[in-house]
């Protein structure tokens, strides 16, 4: 069996809660025993709402946050085991949510793309050639190298961010809500590009999003995160057609849709006292029903 590109085993992250004297009094479990793996060329989607721990997982994979326990392996090599930062960067890169703030406004696009290439040890003409090549890969004209971020549209900026991320030829891209700041028509084109690049470069993606409709269409497999735990995982078709967990059903039921077909297959939102319940309230109620099945 081939080694997965990313393998996460029993990952935990707790943040200390301190009292007024700086003493740790409690711990928030942001990520709670999370395990999953991503195969070569696969798109794995992590779906979750704010506070679910999806960004913390991304930050740990990127080495921006140290896990409390658990292992993160890229192509079988443990990221925690004293791997040099430069080496990690060649394996995993990230595309952020807001291209407006992830590109340096005082650098031209060419200068921004030059940074990772120099870090790889390229020099001189080779860099310019590679910048042209990268822009071409993300379907931008070569003369964009001389432009500044403010001269670009949101979609173009995100293409530059993608070019910068693939510059070092990584194995895995972490995509943190890469299209949530874009119009839908632009979003579709950026995802088109990611799909094409994924095939061409055999890239794997960890796609983090709260847009379930997009996830259904883009990810091969998904994991649904709730309060730091993966409550449901499987092939996206299977999870969407037959959601097993109450939270997954509530999430899918809440998605605003544009066609009657979608409305027909979407689970109905459960109402408690005529109101849409919060996830906590719904799960608490279901738990209670499980304990007292006769009280219906």
């Amino acid at each position: 069996m081939t080694v997965p590109v990313l393998e996460i085993i029993g990952l935990n992250k707790g943040f200390p809660v301190k009292n007024g004297f700086g003493r740790t009094v409690d711990e928030v479990r942001a990520v709670d025993d999370v395990s999953f793996s991503i195969a070569k060329g696969e798109v794995y989607g992590l779906a979750g709402e704010s506070g679910s721990g999806k960004s913390t997982i991304a930050r740990m994979i990127m080495g921006l946050e140290r896990p409390t326990s658990g292992d993160i392996l890229i192509e079988g090599r443990n990221l925690g085991g004293g791997m040099a930062a430069a080496e990690k960067r060649k394996l995993v890169q990230m595309v952020f949510q807001n291209p407006g703030s992830s590109l340096n406004p005082r650098r031209t696009i060419g200068q921004s793309l030059r940074v990772p290439l120099e870090a790889m040890g390229l020099a001189g003409r080779k860099i310019d050639a590679r910048i042209g090549e990268l822009l071409d890969m993300v379907q931008l004209p070569a003369n964009f190298a001389e432009r500044f971020p403010h001269e670009l549209s949101g979609g173009q900026k995100q293409r530059v961010a993608i070019a910068r991320a693939i510059a070092v030829q990584p194995r895995l891209l972490v995509l943190d809500e890469p299209t949530s700041a874009l119009d839908v028509s632009v979003q579709a084109k950026v995802i088109d590009l990611l799909v094409d690049l994924g095939r061409e470069l055999e890239l794997s993606y960890l796609f983090i999003s709260h847009d379930l409709s997009l996830m259904r269409n883009f990810a091969d497999r998904i994991g649904v995160l709730y309060r730091g735990r993966i409550v449901e995982t499987g092939r996206s078709d299977a999870v969407f057609e037959n959601p097993a967990h109450d939270y997954t059903r509530l999430l899918i039921a809440s998605v605003p849709v544009v066609t009657a077909e979608e409305e027909a297959v979407r689970p109905k939102i459960p109402l408690i006292d005529g109101e849409i319940p919060t996830a906590e309230a719904l799960l608490a109620l279901r738990e209670q029903e499980r304990r007292n099945p006769t009280s219906e």
């Binding site: 839908v184 259904r216 269409n217 849709v257 544009v258 077909e261 979608e262 849409i276």
Partner: protein, 281 residues
């Protein structure tokens, strides 16, 4: 259709800066009948926000100039009203529900302080007055109307103490203070989680049904439009390209632009092919 509560006819707006001008609205006309839910949908730069600002009288001249057109509210042309008269309508006849619940509230005042102050000034504009106690009673009343389970506790809270969904409810309560007939909601719920957004959209729909309000929803999210509106105007590059009852617009869009916009929305049922291999409509 009965006489419209709000009716825009042939609105042309131009922006000028640094000696250059650009017309951003071309001949925009739209109607919001009483007790209806109308959506104005478009991508960034389509002119939907400028239209909203023109209705609320929030366009600054310069740089904006209204070249021609009418914005009638209950038959009166808002563009011909003296500024003082125009201002009286904001918050009392028509109210805005703002988009960003994180930045639309003042962090250093309690919810009761902020809503109370807004009510006080709204009363003053209308030549009414209420005691502090009456104002507080009204604040608690609107907080209950937006289904806050514990209005007293929310009123005593500072914005940081509330979740995003609760802050959005506070902003809706704020808009309801002086019993307006028209609510204008700018991208409601976009900053929220999808389950919280569903709650907010249901609340807006219920308010329209129970309190007889009219709702004008300004958004880029077609799913939200389909869930909350009965009539839709689609804008592109400053022009209303298509308008139709929501059911009709989504099942049989007439214009290519509308069709491509709807086609670009990923479906919950899947089947959308990404990449150059699978071309879309």
């Amino acid at each position: 259709m009965s006489e419209s509560l709000l009716s825009i006819r042939g609105l042309n707006v131009q922006f000028s800066a640094y000696g250059r001008s650009q017309q951003v609205l071309h001949d925009v006309s739209l109607d919001v009948p009483a007790h209806s839910q109308v959506a104005l949908v478009g991508e960034s730069g389509s002119g939907k926000t400028v239209t909203m600002k023109a209705i609320m009288g929030l366009l600054r001249d310069p740089p904006a100039r209204i070249l021609s057109g009418e914005i009638r509210y209950e038959g009166r042309d808002l563009l011909k009203l003296p500024p003082r008269e125009r201002k009286k309508l904001n918050g009392t006849e028509m109210s805005m529900v703002f988009q960003d619940p994180m930045s639309s509230l003042n962090p250093v005042f309690t919810i009761a302080d902020q809503l109370g102050t807004i009510l006080k000034y709204a009363d003053r504009r209308l030549g009414r007055s209420r005691s502090g106690r009456e104002r507080m009673a009204r604040v608690l009343e609107v907080l209950a109307q937006v289904r806050m389970r514990d209005p007293e506790r929310v009123a005593a809270s500072y914005p940081v103490m509330l979740s995003g969904g609760m802050r959005q409810r506070v902003l809706i309560a704020m808009a309801l203070l002086s019993e307006p007939k028209l609510l204008i909601a700018d991208e409601p719920g976009t900053a929220l989680d999808v389950t919280t957004q569903a709650q907010i959209l249901k609340l807006l729909k219920d308010l329209v049904a129970d309190r007889g309000l009219a709702l004008l929803m300004i958004t880029h999210n077609l799913g939200v439009v389909r869930e909350t509106s009965d009539y839709v105007y689609v804008m592109n590059k400053g022009v209303v390209v298509e308008h139709a009852p929501a059911a009709e617009l989504f099942s049989a869009p007439r214009e290519d632009y509308t069709r491509s916009l709807i086609a670009a929305v990923p479906r919950l049922t899947g089947g959308m092919r990404f990449g150059s291999a699978g071309a879309r409509v």
